[in-house]
Amino acid sequence: MSIIVGEETKLVISGLTGREGSFHGLRNRDYGTDVVAGVTPKKGGQDVEGIPIFDTIKEAVDERGANTSMIFVPARFAAASINEAIDAGIGTVIAITEHIPVHDMLQTYWKARDAGVRLIGPNCPGVLSPGKANVGIIPAQFFEQGSIGVVSKSGTLTYQIGNELKQAGLGNSSIVGIGGDPIVGSDFIDILTLFEEDAETELIVMVGEIGGDAEERAAEFIAEHVSKPVVAYIAGFTAPPGKQMGHAGAIISGSSGTAEAKKQALEAQGIRVGKSPTETAQLAAETIGAKA
């Protein structure tokens, strides 16, 4: 097994006719992902290298059996595309687009939640289940199939860690980029839950960064609900503190949001935190070795 995407994935790509959309969409297909359709309004009937284009996601669901959607459309139309996917009965929506207005995402988040749709992103690199399917922009050649689940806020940092794991001789069940926007469809806790339930996943690597308190909340969740070993990495120890307007932000988060605060919260729950991506991979290798 793997999580979120796999052999059962039938992908429809909104924005496949765009430059980046076609570049990455075709890479996803070359990897073996079952890309069944693309969607661009008014371009229905065309095709992108054999992938049929429809005007709407609903048509792609009805005619091609699409069950997963990837959103690659410009920011100002992206939330509407996610909403369209939800209305069309898609079960999993992966939104790559960055700079989607937060207020749009706030509404779309609840729409997805009410409909029971799993939303990943936006502003994320997507999900890769090595050997099975790749949905998004993660360069798959740097990852092997294996038993480590990776969940990360950051795109490029995810590739870095996956690559370090590969060099340490370790593979991945799935790599999930949840995105770093203020409102994301799935957060660390959602993905940790899926990895905990996934038979193939033996260890979880969680990659966080400064800002917000998602890592702190994940630390508590892990202590109570995750039986599998977790290794973490936090980026941003050297970053200067961001400018904070007013008091409201500090009042609600209950955490300073610094890398040090996150590291301490994780270590307080017995979770090992690597100093660098390299050390994090080493900790994962040690932990898996100790388990075996």
Binding site: D104, I137, G211, A235, G246, G249
Partner: protein, 397 residues
């Protein structure tokens, strides 16, 4: 994501936004010269308040807010405040005062605190109200949590008269001010939604001796990603060119995400996470990063030339590290950018490049063919960090 993509309005811009949504604010004028400030004070009448306009809190403590009883005092305060440097409560800045807001002094009976903020954890908006307004609201929230009432806005319910009335009542707002306070909360909520705000904070919200309820301050943060549908606010952003460092100004003009730091190793990464991680490993290797520069996703040759121009304009920089792991970014584009930049920008500093990910082999091939002097290609991130620290030490010794 760091830094946050947000537009912080100046107090007077926030108050203008409030006024546009029917939120009562004191009458006032903005001025950018001492003469202009005095003229504004004369028009408004005394006593009036002269307030520094900077995109950060803590102005009062820094001496940036003064009451003038007459023309002489107005002139004295305007002179002192215009040009003053103000740091935020967490050491942010300094922010130089280029404008003052001159407003009629209010007849204050009570000071409240009101805010609406996006609560990322709950994925809901959060409305907060306290009758203990003023400067120490964070302290109050910690020591006496009940004194600050917090209510999430339920997505299917919204925030209307009923919710606002309950909030005002729970916060213990004086009876004669309750209705007006609730009305203001609804108007602030509407302003929040209609302007794509992520924060609105009024501290203090005051009740006057005539039982009027007025927003005496305005902290408003707007989501940058939504500026395309707010032309008026987008125009305001154009006016903020006051970044403290020349490099930050240059980077903003070129559309790069750059933060100046104190060290001597120039850094470029792609993606905020990898870029922050690069700073961390360089620091761990004993180096001092000169900057954070996220080239972003899908960087093209042009962006690399811009990035190198910005980094090398910092005279402190003695060595540069490019740490690229391509997803949406293609390694061949990065390599082309480096090669082009070496022809256009005068770089005599050592440059360490670590290139991995999408099309990295093509990129490394291009770099090998170009055979640039002073270019060091490293295979791993830690190796690259160690190399650049070593080169920086050799340069500065």
């Amino acid at each position: 994501m760091y830094p946050l993509a947000a537009l912080d309005l100046l107090e007077y811009q926030g108050k203008q936004l409030f006024a546009g949504h029917g939120v009562p604010v004191p009458e006032g004028r903005v001025a950018d010269t001492v003469e202009g400030a005095v003229e504004a004070a004369e028009e408004i009448g005394y006593p009036c308040v002269i307030k520094a306009q900077v995109q950060i809190g803590g102005r009062g403590k820094a001496g940036g807010i003064k009451v003038a009883e007459d023309k002489a005092e107005a002139e004295e305060h305007a002179k002192a405040i215009l040009g003053m440097d103000i740091r935020g409560p967490r050491g942010e800045g300094p922010f130089t005062v280029h404008q003052v807001w001159v407003e009629r002094a209010s007849n204050i009976e009570a000071e409240y605190y009101a805010s609406i903020i996006l609560d990322r954890s709950a994925k809901k908006l959060l409305a907060m109200l306290s009758t203990m307004g003023g400067m120490n609201v964070e302290e109050i929230a910690e020591k006496d949590p009940d004194a600050l009432v917090r209510r999430h806005v339920e997505p299917h319910e919204g925030f209307g008269d009923a919710q606002a009335a309950a909030l005002a009542s729970d916060a213990g707002v004086a009876e004669d001010a309750r209705e007006k306070t609730a009305e203001m909360m609804v108007k602030l909520y509407n302003a929040f939604n209609e302007s794509d705000a992520t924060l609105i904070e009024v501290n203090p919200l005051v009740v006057t001796k005539d039982s009027d309820v007025i927003a005496l301050d305005a902290k408003v943060t707007i989501d940058n990603s939504a500026l395309f549908r707010h032309e008026d606010l987008a125009d305001l952003e154009e006016g903020f060119i006051e970044d403290p460092h020349e490099q930050e100004r240059m980077a903003k003009e070129k559309g790069l995400t750059y933060v100046k730091l104190d060290g001597d190793i120039g850094i470029l990464g792609n993606g905020a996470g990898l870029c922050m991680s690069t700073l961390d490993v360089v620091a761990q290797a004993g180096g001092a990063p000169a900057n954070f520069l996220d080239a972003g996703g899908g960087s093209k040759a042009e962006a690399i030339i811009d990035a190198l121009t910005v980094i090398t304009s910092d005279p402190k920089v003695v060595a540069i590290l490019f740490n690229i792991f391509g997803g949406i970014t293609r390694g061949d584009e990065i390599a082309k950018g480096i090669i082009e930049a070496s022809q256009k920008v005068d770089i005599d500093l050592p440059l360490v490049v670590r290139l991995d990910g999408t099309n990295s082999e093509e990129g490394l091939g291009l770099l090998a063919d170009a055979d640039l002097p002073n270019l060091h290609v490293e295979k791993t991130m830690l190796g690259a960090a160690e190399k650049v620290v070593e080169l920086a030490k050799a340069e500065s010794s």
